[in-house]
């Protein structure tokens, strides 16, 4: 039996895009226990509800994170719309769905690049990020912003898509689909990728359930849990099935997210074909009074938005439960028994978003 030692991992580490600290109790290079420590970039955004009225809070919610920005704005708007009984126009619902799926694509491509970087496959990393640029170009072309595009408002959206933009998106989707097929071949056919991901960090379906895992991380363990199935926005009118895998290892997580990019392409195409004519938003009257809890499927998993208003223009409480926060316990469980050399790839495999987590 070797000597136990505690190795600090993070907050600054080559595989970590954002600061999280783990105290790893290690014996013979095998992790026995992992104790997470967050809180390096806590900003207290939720506390701003006392200083910004419910319309201005949309912009605060969007700035929770640069990657999941659109989803945060949409989740917040949905929650406020629910307590104010606002019926959002059908066209706005479809537009939100289109932008949400584009955001999911760029988030997953970012993650795939980071994962390739984590196991040292630099050219794959560049390729994933090159494809991601096409998605960001689409977002810029249609909204004016690449990451934080502030198109949501309580009652609908600010911007519309014209025929040229719709054609531009469809052309780009074809290109992305073609490029993704090449990347997919490398991810699933390359021996070095398989070696670094197969059988690493296995999380069973039962463990994923018991530890409250969410998103593609949970779906890679066989949990068929996708909030889009609840039919919010225009998802109820689109045809799709959640993508799941049963292996529960790092390879399965790559598989699920890669397939979800193809799924998002299909969803955007469907939504563009079905895009109804009509208004973009409706006027909102009165003040929010009551409480609502809304769940949406962010790229990293289920996000929960809770708002509580007392008939004033300032909400009493706004709370975001982010998917990474839900995935922390499962990450710690997954790290138990892992090789120290695999810790980097395991941490990246949950797609941690610390900005969201600490808000």
């Amino acid at each position: 039996m070797g000597k136990k030692s505690v190795i600090p991992f993070g907050p600054q580490h080559p595989v970590l895009p954002e600061p999280i600290h783990l105290d790893l109790v290690v014996e013979d290079e095998v992790v026995e226990e992992a104790i997470p420590n967050i809180g390096f970039i806590h900003r207290g955004l939720e506390g701003l509800v006392e200083k910004r009225d419910f319309n201005e809070m949309v912009y605060v919610a969007e700035r929770t994170c640069g990657i999941c920005s659109f989803g945060h704005g949409m989740g917040y708007c949905e929650a406020v719309e629910q307590i104010m009984n606002v019926e959002v126009p059908e066209r706005a619902r479809f537009l939100r769905t289109i932008w949400m799926e584009l955001a999911r694509m760029h988030s997953h491509l970012l993650w795939m690049g980071l994962t390739a970087d984590a196991f040292g496959f630099e050219s794959l990393f560049y390729e994933c990020w090159r494809i991601r640029e096409h998605v960001l170009d689409m977002l810029e072309h249609t909204t004016g912003g690449r990451l934080i595009f502030s198109v949501n408002q309580v009652g609908g959206v600010h911007r519309d898509l014209n025929e040229d933009q719709i054609r531009y998106i469809k052309d780009n989707l074809d290109k992305i689909e073609e490029d993704m097929k090449n990347v997919e071949k490398t991810f699933f056919g390359d021996a070095s990728v398989q070696k670094r991901t197969r059988g690493i960090g296995v999380l069973t379906k039962q463990e994923a359930h018991d530890l409250g895992a969410a998103g593609p991380f949970a779906r890679a363990s066989g949990l068929k849990y996708d909030m889009r199935l609840t039919g919010y926005e225009a998802y109820g009118k689109l045809d799709f099935e959640p993508i799941i895998s049963t292996e529960g290892d790092c390879y399965a997580r790559i598989l699920v997210r890669t397939k979800e990019i193809f799924q998002s392409i299909q969803l955007v195409r469907q939504a563009l074909d079905m895009l109804p004519a009509g208004d973009l938003n409706v006027p909102v009257k009165g003040m929010p009074n009551g409480e609502a809890m809304v769940r949406i499927e962010q790229p990293r998993g289920e996000a929960i938005y809770y708002v509580h208003g007392e008939n004033t223009r300032f909400l009493n409480r706004f709370r975001i439960r982010t998917p990474t926060f839900a995935n922390l316990p499962a990450l710690c469980k997954m790290l138990q028994g892992a090789n120290y050399a695999d810790v980097g790839i395991l941490v990246v495999s949950i797609d941690p978003c610390i900005s969201c987590t600490e808000r």
């Binding site: 207290g44 409250g212 068929k224 199935l229 609840t230 039919g231 099935e241 809890m293 409480r317 709370r319």
Partner: protein, 187 residues
């Protein structure tokens, strides 16, 4: 594709039933998806949300807690609740006992104490804590009944002191002044 349209339910329960209710949710194989805290009408409103993996039905269990009350941890039923509990404890100052994996105020690296508790609730919490402290001090200094029975004048019980303080000078008047300040201050 089947659109599920899940049901959302709210259950208001007293604090004494919290652990039993949470245990029942665990037995029903529900998943804890979040715990949320808010200061509402000078009370903490703690919301525990559970969901069913198949039907997506969500149950929110609501508990109202006094600003200086302590609630039990639910880590026995849901071990991963400790992250939520540490968060509530640090950001709102909610007192939670027996957290399995208590970070003792070091979960978030923040300089301000209870940063998300609004000013009104913070003030009310301080006043209430002062009252509790004063009442405890008075109870500690109260002479033993056996001593007063020998011939001295018995010191009134705290409740009587409070009543007496409303009419004339007395030990209880200090608490009443605090209350007056709170009511008249318009905070």
């Amino acid at each position: 594709m089947t659109v599920i349209n899940p049901v959302q339910k709210y259950e208001d329960i007293p604090l004494s039933e919290l652990l039993v209710t949470v245990m029942r949710k665990r037995q029903q194989n529900l998943r804890l998806i979040q715990i949320c805290c808010a200061a509402v009408n000078n009370q903490y409103e703690v919301l525990y949300s559970f969901t069913d993996d198949d039907t997506y039905e969500m149950t929110n269990v609501r508990v109202m807690v006094g600003l200086n009350e302590t609630i039990p941890s639910i880590c026995d039923s849901y071990p991963y609740a400790n992250y939520y509990e540490n968060e509530m404890s640090e950001l709102f100052g909610l007192s939670i006992e027996m957290i399995d994996g208590d970070y003792h105020g070091r979960f978030y690296r923040i300089n301000e104490k209870e940063p998300l508790l609004n000013k009104k609730a913070k003030k009310a919490k301080e006043v209430e804590a002062e009252e509790i402290r004063a009442a405890a001090e008075e109870a500690a200094h109260m002479p033993d009944i056996s001593e007063t029975a020998e011939g001295g004048e018995a010191t009134p019980a705290p409740a009587d002191q409070k009543a007496a303080g409303e009419q004339a000078d007395g030990a209880g008047i200090r608490i009443i002044h605090k209350k007056d300040e709170k009511e008249g201050g318009g905070e």
